[in-house]
Symmetry: D2
Subunit: 381 residues, 4 copies
């Protein structure tokens, strides 16, 4: 793969690289790793890239890689820049014949998202987006159980995503991540919503398959931030279920404890990022069950087990979940290049529709809040 963004002082770039590397399916062979030429070169050198394939810009990288006959050739582009720099390189890569993986959220604006969907459809290339939590095997198990009607009709979905890293005004201290996250020119309309709100929307849709009918959002921010750093959101789904979301980056002492609870008529499940290798099933008048990750567990679905590397009691974590997305994307590329359909049931990854849904979520939430916390329809064209 070739990488756009993710220079050596980037947090998420290195996560993408570890994830891509873990399963020996993907090799980083070229990159335009930073917005400044010097840092691009330096980063590529540190990563041990062939000097010829360290580029000063994504244009240069894509244009060169499409024509030069490097072996191995670049099969796909991974885009890990801030949000405002997703659309253009993604579009160029797709139109130049490359598959594309992009960090979430999909784009800077919902318009870009609709346009990108068009490009994906038109080019027919594979497109992935790193909604990390969809890569966790026990989240896949949750999805499997719900889709098999284990709990009866779903009534309620509650999600909490508490973080604390913006509790203080760290952007005033030039903290790199904070600086662009709070800047609309780089992040888009959503602050916390773009960063963690889209993860919430994705895990809800991924596990339950429910469609949001309308929502009512109360966003707020501190320190004269122009974008939200905190949100409480009420949801109504098209099947009649309701839901409630809390997503915040200003909760002192919180780390990154995404938690989802899904309640059906007969039972419920709970998954929390603080114990990602467990899945709790609660029942009316039956003992609670705890499903545990483990490649040897016969009671788990294949969808879950195909995304585990270790036997039970050997914890896999964030990097492994991330790696599942990359590995499955690589499998799909191999299938497609061999003229076969990818096996997306066993080796799935989030795609362009998921990315678009996240962008619509951001914009709907912001619109609801700006209207004084009024119900807004959630509509995807």
């Amino acid at each position: 793969m070739g990488m756009v963004g993710g220079g050596i002082d980037s947090f998420i770039g290195e996560v993408h690289r570890m994830a891509a590397r873990l399963d020996n399916q993907i090799e980083l062979i070229c990159g335009a790793l930073s917005s400044t030429e010097e840092r691009s070169l330096q980063s590529g050198k540190i990563l041990g890239l062939n000097p010829e394939r360290i580029y000063r810009s994504y244009h240069e990288m894509i244009n060169k890689e499409v024509t030069a006959n490097y072996i191995p050739s670049m099969a796909f582009v991974s885009i890990v820049t801030p949000n405002h720099l997703h659309y253009q390189p993604a579009r160029l890569a797709l139109e130049s014949g490359f598959h594309v993986m992009v960090d979430k959220p999909l784009t800077h604006s919902v318009e870009e998202a609709y346009n990108l969907r068009q490009v994906v459809k038109a080019t027919g290339k594979l497109f992935g987006i790193t909604y990390t939590y969809a890569g966790y095997p026990m989240v896949k198990e949750a999805r499997y159980l719900i889709s098999n009607d284990t709990f009866g009709k779903i009534r309620k979905v509650n999600v909490d995503y508490p973080q604390g890293w913006l509790t203080r005004n760290i952007e005033s201290e030039k903290q790199k991540q904070a600086s662009w996250r709070v800047d609309p020119a780089k992040s888009g309309k959503g602050g916390a919503m773009g960063d963690i709100g889209t993860h919430v929307e994705n895990i809800i849709h991924y596990t339950t398959g429910l469609e949001i009918e309308e929502l009512c959002a109360d966003l707020s921010s501190r320190y004269n931030r122009k974008l939200d750093d905190d949100a409480s959101i009420l949801l109504r789904f098209t099947n009649g279920a309701s839901g409630s979301v809390r997503a915040s980056q200003v909760l002192s002492g919180e780390e990154n404890s995404l938690k989802i609870s899904v309640y059906g008529e007969n039972g419920s499940l709970e998954w929390s990022h603080t114990d990602p290798n467990s899945l709790i099933l609660k029942w009316i008048d039956k003992p609670t069950q705890v499903y545990k990750a483990g490649a040897e567990k016969s009671y788990l679905s294949r969808a879950a087990k195909n995304n585990m590397r270790l036997p039970s009691g050997h914890p896999e974590g964030f990097i492994e979940a991330f790696a599942n997305i990359y590995r499955n994307f690589a499998y799909a590329i191999k299938s497609v290049e061999a003229g076969k359909s990818p096996d997306l049931e066993n080796f799935d990854f989030p795609g362009i529709e998921d990315g678009l849904r996240g962008m619509v979520f951001i914009e709907t939430v912001v619109a609801s809040s700006n209207a004084g916390c009024k119900w807004k329809k959630f509509e995807i064209k």
Copy 2:
């Protein structure tokens, strides 16, 4: 004490009696224990009451006890009937010179609540209400820490109160508790809101002292219930903090896991009824702390330790929390009867203002939801 309601097939009546009995400060000496004469007599007999002091109605009990010179005399009346039967006996008892303890919510309607406040003021008698969670020592510790500005200005309060006992339509099977809880004639305007919503409002106010400025509620119900069985509520407080509440009785597999998280600018705390003897404090870039209940712990506040009976590692639970309210009420009566001020800092209990606030909460929440989930001011006259 004398008891109104709480016959032998009642759940909460027996809890009140165990709680009153535990600390050897209170003796049940008379009662009008049921709405039917026969069951009143039978219940009184089983409880070993003096047959002369088993009454057929609260009128009879209060009128007789005020004139007869029984020894020991009745010092206060405990009212544990369904909501629609709180106001009249409370009023009669107060006006007859007795102190009063009542189960929550305070009354059937907010009008009754305002009236009762008038009666309490006019008679000068002591008035208590069994918001159980305010009786837990680690909830008192939370209150102490917040009131001492441990966490800086409070920004956010999140509360979850998930239950599952109304998941199925058990009122159709004549389950006694369910039957009156879903009946507006007995419960008032709130279903889950009257039952558990008032606990949520109370624990927020009790621990943080914050005043709700306005709220936006999304209530729903199943099985053609006339009252809510589920709620998601957004809160805004007068100090600028915001909050979010989930309270539901239709979450399959949930039991009774009230949980509150309070976030200040510098740190936060978390208390959960699933582990009531711990209090978790989270900090920005300092280790998380877990405060543990234990009568010998020097680091705990007196307010907490005065409401513990056992050393650390010996769990106290629901009955002990309930008993703290009764015991402290008994202490207050003794002080007052000895002409002294009760020591409400060390031995506090919820009172008439707490009860009134709960009723305003119910009505505001219902009004917001009926208006299509609109923001409504939370106003206490």
Copy 3:
């Protein structure tokens, strides 16, 4: 009941009284509450006893109560003195026609224990001992499940009982509890073994029914204590199973977290005092199950549910477990006095054989350790 020991500055005396009181089956009507006359009288007064029935010694109490025709009469004696003062009052009470409840361990020495067994047999009176953990409903559920062969043949039993209250040399500061616990003249041959070791032996036998064949103990102590404050013990059972025990009172920062794990050929269970209302069942290649206490749970055994007062999610704790022992003892007395057999399957309590087994455990453990940590047979005559 009448109480021997347990004056107002005693920890365990008040626990016994709360436990006895909770379920309205037992009234404290007389006592010889302290070893000093003055404190006995003062304690009795504070507890509101009839002044005539406050005694200066257990002799006086038992002799007087057996002849005077007080109403209500004393049905049983509760003995809550230090260990060296159990045997004499227990014997006198039994021989005077009273039932007896005694705090653990049974006696000061194993010889006294054998003698007391003789007296119990000879008099035919009811005898109880407050092994608290046997009063927990989920411990009763564990016993029920194991006795119904839920897990196959038992292979292994591991128990930890960590405490930290003797971490420092608090007896040098005259801490009352510590002073007698470390004194062989009052405690007997066991220090931590007498205090918490006997609880461990009891919970193993109570839940599994296994008989210890032999054991190998490594005891130690600090601060020139004459009795053990720490033990590690290996166990072999007559059925071929093995086990391991850790019981210590010098583990800094530990509170009172008794935990038992029982492993059968097909599955296992785990109960911990830190979450006493749950029972965890683990299986080979099936999801873990968590049984939750709750009077309404249909899947729990009657033995467990008969010892719960509250629905699920309303935690009961140490006092309630203790109270189960007292209440069941009271039920048994009532049955016996009505000429019926007590229903010990549904309303059980530990008795003289359990007490004796605990004493043999203490002496065997001490003998093994004194012999240089050698295997010793565990033999009850």
Copy 4:
């Protein structure tokens, strides 16, 4: 690196490869991956090795790599064969000038271990052993805190390592892992002791630095296994502390929950593999503290933070801990090859002495148990 063993149907070989790969410091470039020629070739092919560098035996590999001038050259050999096949390839590699990493336990016998130590000393090459748990950052934090006398003199060390995978007689079903683990010809004198007992010994020594003085072990096995599948062990350390170990592979329903508790005079710590990113500190009369992993935490030691990749709340797991050992080994090789001393304080890995200690542990434990569970001195020549 070149790999000996770890063909594609091996569990631990793939773990080593993922771990080696994760941090982009190590590339697998050659291998003798199986004991059968065919599988070696097939495995090498699947792993994408240069066909010339896929070898039929470790002799061939080492001899060839030492003479051929491949670029990149092989810097070290990773040995992931069953225990009986560690010594010979390790010796040959060292004597041929290569650094060596070996899976634990070090060798098949303690004699081999002493010999290997000689070879390491004589050759001066770097030597590592994958005691995985020493790679966990919070285990490193534990070590840092203890070595800085955070808890006062250490009194007690308790470790549990429960597994259940040998609960049934799966070797009779030809399960590959089980078959060699229960075979003395391949495993050596220890069964569970060789597999998980050595991990226990290592984590104790690694975190506390304590030296075992003597031990008393009770080993047992089922199904006529020739090697232990279960152990309870008492420990005495040279500083006067004592300890207790449980390590078993026949505990139904257990997975892999290694847990260590270390008690000092002033406080204690607890680390459990079920929540590897937390470290619990307990204190006498101060709140419990929970240290959380997170690369941004200022309160953590450098030793811990240097072995984390992600910010708090992003769980790292088994593979990352394993990878820390490989990465630090690679750093040390680079330092050494650059003529510098490796920075073993910040980037440590277990070495030959740790491996030897583990072998002495196995043999001492087995000797103690065979002597009827007698105390045996723990002596390293």
